[in-house]
C-alpha cells in the first residue's frame, strides 16, 4: 500500500523522484508562456530525429479561454502539467506509467485504471499520435501518446509521451473538491498555503486581462512580429562569420513559434478571431512549427550527422 501524499507539491516531488529513478533527466519548466507541456522544446523538438531521449518536467501552462476568475472548482487559465517524454518508447511504458501512479499513492489494487482510446492531434504543431486517456475510477488522470508525427516529420524512433494534469490528479489523490482549497505545501507545516492562497488572486487578474483588457492591436502586431522574426531567424545563413561555426538557430526560431501560438490563444480569448480566421491563424502557427522542425532535424541534436 502506497502511503498518501499530503500536498500538491508532494505529488510533484514524488513524480520527479520516480521519473528520475527511471532514468529521466529532470528538466525545469520552459521559460515562456505555452498552452501545454508538449510545447516545451524538450518534447516538440526532441521528439524529432534519431537521438535517444528521456526527460521529465513540470510545465506551467496557460489557456486564456479557460479562465473563470478562480471560481470554477476545476478550471484555470494557468495550471501545471507534468510531462514525460522517452524516445524510443520503452516496451514497458504502460507499466512504468502505472508505477508513477503508485508512487503518488494510487494503489492499483483498489482502483479501476483503464486505458481509453484518445488519439492526440495538435493542429498548431502539425503533430499527431495514438494512445489513450487514462482513467482512474472514471476520471481522466493522464494522456498517454505514442508520437507518430511532429512538425510534419515522421517520428523515428517513436517517442512515448505522458502528460499528467497535475491539479486534477492531485485533487483526486488529496480528496479535494475545489482546486483553490487544495493544500499546496504540507498542511501541518508552520505556514500552510492552499492553492487558492497562491493563485486565487492571479486567476482573477489574468481572467480580467485575458478577456477584457489585453490590447488586441498590440497582440495582433506581436503575432505578426513573431511570425516574421521566426522566418528571419531561419533564413539566416548557416555559417556564422564570427565564430566560423555552422549554427542553425532552430531553438530561437521555435521560441518565436511558441510566442505566436500563445498570442493567438490570447486573441482567441479576447474574442476577436472569427471561425474562418481561426483556421488561418492555426495554419500560420503550424507553418512556423514545421519550419522549426525542418531546421532542427538539420542540427546535431536533431540527429543530423555531426
Amino acid at each position: 500500500m502506497a502511503d498518501k501524499p499530503r500536498s500538491f507539491q508532494e505529488i510533484i516531488l514524488r513524480l520527479q523522484t520516480y521519473w528520475a529513478s527511471k532514468g529521466c533527466a529532470i528538466l525545469q519548466p520552459y521559460d515562456m508562456e505555452v498552452g501545454a507541456g508538449t510545447f516545451h522544446p524538450a518534447t516538440t523538438l526532441r521528439a524529432l530525429g534519431s537521438n535517444h531521449w528521456a526527460a521529465a518536467y513540470v510545465q506551467p501552462s496557460r489557456r486564456p479561454t479557460d479562465g473563470r476568475y478562480g471560481e470554477n472548482p476545476n478550471r484555470l487559465q494557468h495550471y501545471y502539467q507534468y510531462q514525460v517524454l522517452i524516445k524510443p518508447s520503452p516496451p514497458d511504458l504502460q507499466d512504468l506509467y502505472l508505477g508513477s501512479l503508485e508512487a503518488i499513492g494510487i494503489d492499483a489494487a483498489m482502483h479501476d485504471i483503464r486505458f481509453v482510446e484518445d488519439d492526440w492531434e495538435s493542429p498548431t504543431l502539425g503533430a499527431w499520435g495514438l494512445g489513450w486517456e487514462v482513467w482512474c475510477d472514471g476520471m481522466e488522470v493522464s494522456q498517454f501518446t505514442y508520437f507518430q508525427q511532429v512538425g510534419g516529420h515522421d517520428c523515428k524512433p517513436v517517442s512515448g509521451e505522458l502528460t499528467y494534469g497535475l491539479e486534477r490528479l492531485a485533487m483526486y489523490v488529496l480528496n479535494v473538491d475545489h482546486v483553490m482549497d487544495m493544500p499546496f505545501n504540507d498542511p501541518q507545516t508552520q505556514i500552510p498555503l492552499t492553492y487558492g492562497d497562491i493563485f486565487k488572486q492571479t486567476e482573477q487578474e489574468y481572467a480580467r486581462w485575458n478577456f477584457d483588457i489585453a490590447d488586441t492591436d498590440v497582440l495582433l502586431q506581436h503575432f505578426v512580429d513573431a511570425e516574421a522574426e521566426c522566418q528571419r531567424i531561419l533564413d539566416a545563413p548557416v555559417d556564422d562569420p564570427k565564430t566560423g561555426l555552422k549554427i542553425i538557430m532552430a531553438h530561437p526560431a521555435y521560441d518565436q513559434c511558441i510566442k505566436a501560438s500563445h498570442v493567438f490563444n490570447l486573441l482567441d480569448a479576447r474574442g476577436v478571431i472569427s471561425v474562418t480566421e481561426r483556421q488561418a491563424y492555426i495554419g500560420r502557427v503550424r507553418a512556423l512549427a514545421k519550419a522549426c522542425a525542418d531546421a532542427f532535424v538539420q542540427t546535431e541534436a536533431g540527429g543530423a550527422a555531426a
Binding site: M110, V116, D119, G138, C155
Partner: protein
C-alpha cells in the same frame, strides 16, 4: 485434423475497433490458408481490450502436392520465346521435356509443387496478416517499423491434436511466437501456457478474462438489470453503449451508484447524455416517475472493498460533470424564461455557410417559408412562423454548446419554459426530423411546416450557390434533406406545390442575402455597373440610391430564365433564375422519389409515366397517380390495354410521320363500318365521360379503371378492323380514332414511358 489457436496480445485496442478486427483476423487468416491449399471445418474470432483471438478447428495437416504440365513453344523456336516460357513456368531449360505433337516436337514443362506442412503455411499467412492488417488507424512504436493499432506484445500460435500441441514458429519484427499469454492486467498479470482453445478460454477465465465480447455484454446487462430491479428501478437500454463498455473491460464488474439529489431536477436526457458521453455510464430510471435516479458503471476490477472506492470516485467525477450541466441548465433557463432574445441575437454571429449568411439570416428565411407552406400542411401560419423563429434558439444555449446532440430537445424544454405554445415547443425538437430513412416523421402540422421550411431552405440555398451533390459526394447531406421533404409531404398526404415553393424561396433567399449585404455593398467602390444591374441597387455617382426593389431584381434575372453563373464578388452569389433552381430541384426530388418508391416496389418507369403529367411538383398527387397506375398495370386488363395503346400509338406515329400530318381531328362514327369499330366509338365516349370528371377530382383509380375497360373494345377493333384501308376516308377516320385512344390514355398517364413487358 489439428486445431489452430492464434492470439495477438497488445496494449489496449480501442473498443470501437475490436469486433471488426476479430472478424478481419478470421477472414485474412482463413482466406490465406485456403488459398495455400488447406481446408478447415470451422473458425471463430474473439476480442478483448488487449487481445485478438482466432480459433480454427479441423485444419488439414498439410496441403496436397500439385503437378502441372504446361505446353511450350516448338523445338527450334526463337530463344526469346523459350526464355519467356521458362520464366513463366519457373523451370530451367534443362528441365524441359521434348514431346511429339501433331505439328512436330514441342517443349513441355512439368511443374511439381510439393505439399507443404500446415505450420509452414500458417506462419507465412499469419505474418502477412499481421503486416497487412486493415486497422482504421495504426501506429509504430519504439524503434520498430511494424504497424499495429497499439504496441503488439506477443503472438500465441499453436497447433494441437490428439498427439499434443506444437508452437507454430514465426517472427514478426522481432516478436516470436509462443504458447503463452497473460491474464487480467491487474488481477492476474503473470503469463501462462495453453494447449488448446478450450484450455485457453478456461485458463483465461481463471485469470479474470472473459474472452467472448457477447458473454461480457450479457453479464453486464444481466447484472445491471438485476441490481436495478432490486431497487424497483430499470436500466435504460442502450445497445451501442453496452457494446462499447464490453470492449473496455476484460473482467466486468457492475457497480450501481447514486446521483446526487441536487441533480435530479435536470431533464432526464441531460443526465443520460452527460453520463453516457463523458463517463460511459448507463442510466437507471424509476419506471413510476420516468426520472433518472441512479447510474451503472462497469469497472474492470475486483477490489478488497467490493468496489466502494471505485464507486465513490466515479460518483465524485459524475457530480463534477453534473455540476457543470446544472450550471448550464440554470443559466439557460434564465435566458429562456426571459424570451430567448439574446440567443437569437447571437445567432447573427454564427455563420451557417459563408455564402449563405448567418444562422439568423437563415432563421428569417425559414420563418417566412414556414408561414408560406403552413396552409398546405394544415398548420396555423402564425404559429408556424413563430415556431420557426425560435426553433434554433437553443443552438446558442450553453447546454447545446456542451452537448450538441441535445439540440432540438433542449429547444423544446426552453420554449416550454418561455411559455410558448406546446405546438411551438414541439416544433423546436421535431423540425430536424426525419434525419434518416427510418427516422420517425413528425405529424404535428406546425412541426411539419417548420421541418419542410428548414429542409427546403437548405436545398435551395446550396443549389443557389452551386454546391450540389455529385456522385458519392454530398457534404451538406442534400439527398437526406430531399428525402426528408418527400417523407414529410407523403406521410401527411399534403399538397405542397414544390415548384412554386422553391421559386418563392429562391427569391426570398436572394433578397435576404442582397439586403443584408446592402451596407457593405454601398461601401464597396470597386463594383462595376454590371454587378449592379444583376445583383442589387444602383448607387448613383452622387451617392443616392436608385432603388431597384427585390422583385425588380428578380424580374430582370428571371426574364433571362437561365443560370448566369456570374460571380458577384462582394457576395459571391451565383445569381440563378428562381425558375432554373426550381426546375433542377424538382428533378432532384423526382430522382430521390424514384429511389424511395423503388424500395416500396413501384417501378421507375411507372413513376416516369406520372412525372410526365402536369402537377408533378405535388408529390402526394404524383404518388397517388403512380400507385393507381401500378395497380392498374398489374391487372390483366391493364396489361393488355398497355399493349393496345402501344399498338395504336405505333400505327398512328408511323402514319403521322409518313403522311406528315397530325391525326387529331375528331373521328366520325358515320364512317364506321364494322361493329367493332362502332363499339370502340361507344366505349371511348363512355370512357371519356368517366375519365374527365375523375381526373378533375384526382380520382386516379376510377380514371384508370375506366381506361383499362377500353382493353376489350380496342382488342376487338384491332382483330376485326384494318386501319390502313384502301379508302383514304376510312383510313383517315380510323387514324383519328386511334388518336382518341392515345389522347384518352395520355390524359391519365404518359404510357409511352412504360417499358414493354414480355
Amino acid at each position: 485434423m489439428p486445431d489452430l489457436l492464434i492470439e495477438l496480445f497488445s496494449e489496449e485496442i480501442p473498443a470501437r475497433m475490436q469486433t471488426r478486427a476479430a472478424d478481419d483476423l478470421r477472414k485474412l487468416v482463413t482466406d490465406g490458408l485456403v488459398e495455400a491449399g488447406l481446408t478447415y471445418a470451422g473458425a471463430a474470432g474473439f476480442s478483448t481490450p488487449r487481445r485478438l483471438t482466432l480459433s480454427l478447428d479441423g485444419l488439414t495437416a498439410e496441403s496436397k502436392a500439385v503437378r502441372e504440365e504446361r505446353k511450350g513453344p516448338k523445338v527450334g523456336a526463337p530463344d526469346k520465346a523459350i526464355e519467356g516460357f521458362l520464366r513463366g513456368a519457373g523451370v530451367a531449360r534443362d528441365d524441359l521435356e521434348v514431346r511429339d505433337d501433331k505439328k512436330g516436337q514441342v517443349y513441355f514443362a512439368v511443374i511439381e509443387k510439393p505439399g507443404r506442412l500446415a505450420a509452414d503455411i500458417i506462419a507465412e499467412v499469419l505474418e502477412k496478416s499481421v503486416r497487412n492488417f486493415p486497422w482504421p488507424k495504426s501506429m509504430r512504436w519504439g524503434t520498430g517499423s511494424l504497424k499495429w493499432v497499439r504496441p503488439l506484445h506477443s503472438i500465441l500460435c499453436i497447433l494441437s491434436d490428439e498427439a499434443g500441441t506444437e508452437v507454430v514458429p514465426l517472427d514478426v519484427d522481432g516478436i516470436t511466437s509462443g504458447n503463452t499469454t497473460r491474464g487480467h492486467r491487474f488481477l492476474a498479470p503473470n503469463s501462462f501456457s495453453v494447449a488448446s482453445f478450450d484450455d485457453y478460454e478456461a485458463k483465461l477465465k481463471r485469470a479474470n478474462v472473459v474472452l467472448r465480447a457477447d458473454e461480457r455484454a450479457e453479464a453486464i446487462w444481466n447484472e445491471a438489470t438485476t441490481q436495478a430491479f432490486a431497487l424497483g428501478l430499470e436500466v435504460v437500454e442502450d445497445r451501442g453503449l453496452l457494446a462499447e463498455v464490453a470492449g473496455l473491460v476484460e473482467w466486468p464488474v457492475v457497480l450501481l451508484g447514486r446521483i446526487d439529489d441536487d441533480f435530479l431536477g435536470l431533464p432526464p436526457e441531460v443526465l443520460q447524455t452527460s453520463m453516457k458521453e463523458h463517463q460511459k455510464f448507463f442510466s437507471v430510471r424509476n419506471p413510476k416517475t420516468g426520472r433518472i435516479e441512479r447510474f451503472v458503471t462497469v469497472a474492470n476490477m475486483e477490489t478488497a472493498d467490493n468496489g466502494a472506492t471505485i464507486l465513490a470516485g466515479n460518483q465524485k467525477v459524475l457530480s463534477a460533470r453534473l455540476a457543470d450541466a446544472k450550471f448550464f441548465w440554470e443559466n439557460d433557463l434564465r435566458v429562456a424564461k426571459a424570451g430567448m432574445e439574446p440567443w437569437l441575437e447571437s445567432l447573427s454571429n454564427v455563420t451557417f455557410h459563408n455564402k449563405l449568411g448567418s444562422q439568423k439570416d437563415r432563421i428569417e428565411r425559414i420563418a417566412a417559408l414556414a408561414r408560406e407552406v403552413a396552409p398546405s400542411v394544415g398548420a396555423d401560419p402564425d404559429l408556424a412562423e413563430q415556431a420557426a423563429r425560435v426553433a434554433k434558439a437553443d443552438l446558442s444555449s450553453e447546454m447545446v454548446y456542451e452537448f450538441p446532440e441535445l439540440q432540438g430537445l433542449m429547444g423544446r424544454y426552453y420554449a416550454a419554459e418561455a411559455g410558448l405554445p406546446a405546438d411551438v415547443a414541439a416544433a423546436c425538437e421535431e423540425h430536424y426530423s426525419p434525419l434518416g430513412p427510418s427516422d420517425d416523421v413528425p405529424t404535428a402540422p406546425v412541426s411539419v411546416a417548420v421541418a419542410l421550411a428548414d429542409k427546403i431552405d437548405t436545398l435551395t440555398g446550396f443549389w443557389a450557390i452551386d454546391e450540389k451533390p455529385t456522385g458519392s459526394k454530398d457534404p451538406f447531406a442534400l439527398r437526406r434533406a430531399a428525402l426528408g421533404v418527400i417523407r414529410l409531404v407523403l406521410d401527411g398526404k399534403s399538397s405542397v406545390k414544390l415548384d412554386e415553393v422553391v421559386q418563392f424561396h429562391s427569391r426570398a433567399l436572394y433578397a435576404s442575402l442582397v439586403l443584408n449585404d446592402r451596407a457593405s455593398v454601398l461601401n464597396d467602390s470597386t463594383l462595376d455597373e454590371e454587378h449592379w444591374i444583376l445583383g442589387a441597387n444602383k448607387a448613383m455617382p452622387d451617392g443616392t440610391i436608385l432603388a431597384l426593389s427585390v422583385p425588380e431584381i428578380f424580374e430582370r434575372v428571371d426574364a433571362l430564365n437561365v443560370s448566369l453563373s456570374r460571380d458577384l464578388d462582394w457576395q459571391a452569389i451565383r445569381i440563378t433564375s428562381a425558375k432554373v433552381i426550381a426546375k433542377e430541384l424538382l428533378s432532384f426530388f423526382h430522382d430521390r422519389l424514384k429511389v424511395f418508391l423503388r424500395d416500396k416496389g413501384i417501378r421507375h418507369d411507372i413513376i416516369d409515366a406520372c412525372i410526365a403529367m402536369p402537377g408533378n411538383d405535388d408529390l402526394t398527387l404524383l404518388v397517388k397517380r403512380a400507385e393507381a397506375l401500378a395497380e392498374t398495370l398489374a391487372t390483366d386488363d391493364g396489361e393488355n390495354l398497355l399493349q393496345g395503346f402501344k399498338r395504336a400509338n405505333n400505327i398512328l406515329s408511323q402514319a403521322e410521320e409518313k403522311d406528315g400530318v397530325e391525326y387529331s381531328y375528331g373521328a366520325d362514327i358515320k364512317f364506321a363500318e364494322h361493329d367493332a369499330e362502332k363499339a370502340l366509338f361507344a366505349a371511348l365516349d363512355a370512357a371519356d365521360a368517366k375519365i374527365v370528371p375523375a381526373m378533375e377530382a384526382e380520382d386516379f383509380s376510377t380514371a384508370m379503371t375506366a381506361m383499362a375497360a377500353l382493353r376489350g373494345p380496342i382488342d376487338a377493333f384491332f382483330t376485326d378492323v384494318q386501319v390502313n384501308a384502301d379508302s383514304q376516308v376510312l383510313r383517315r377516320n380510323r387514324l383519328n380514332l386511334l388518336s382518341r385512344i392515345r389522347n384518352i390514355c395520355l390524359s391519365v398517364a404518359d404510357l409511352t414511358k412504360i417499358e414493354g413487358t414480355s
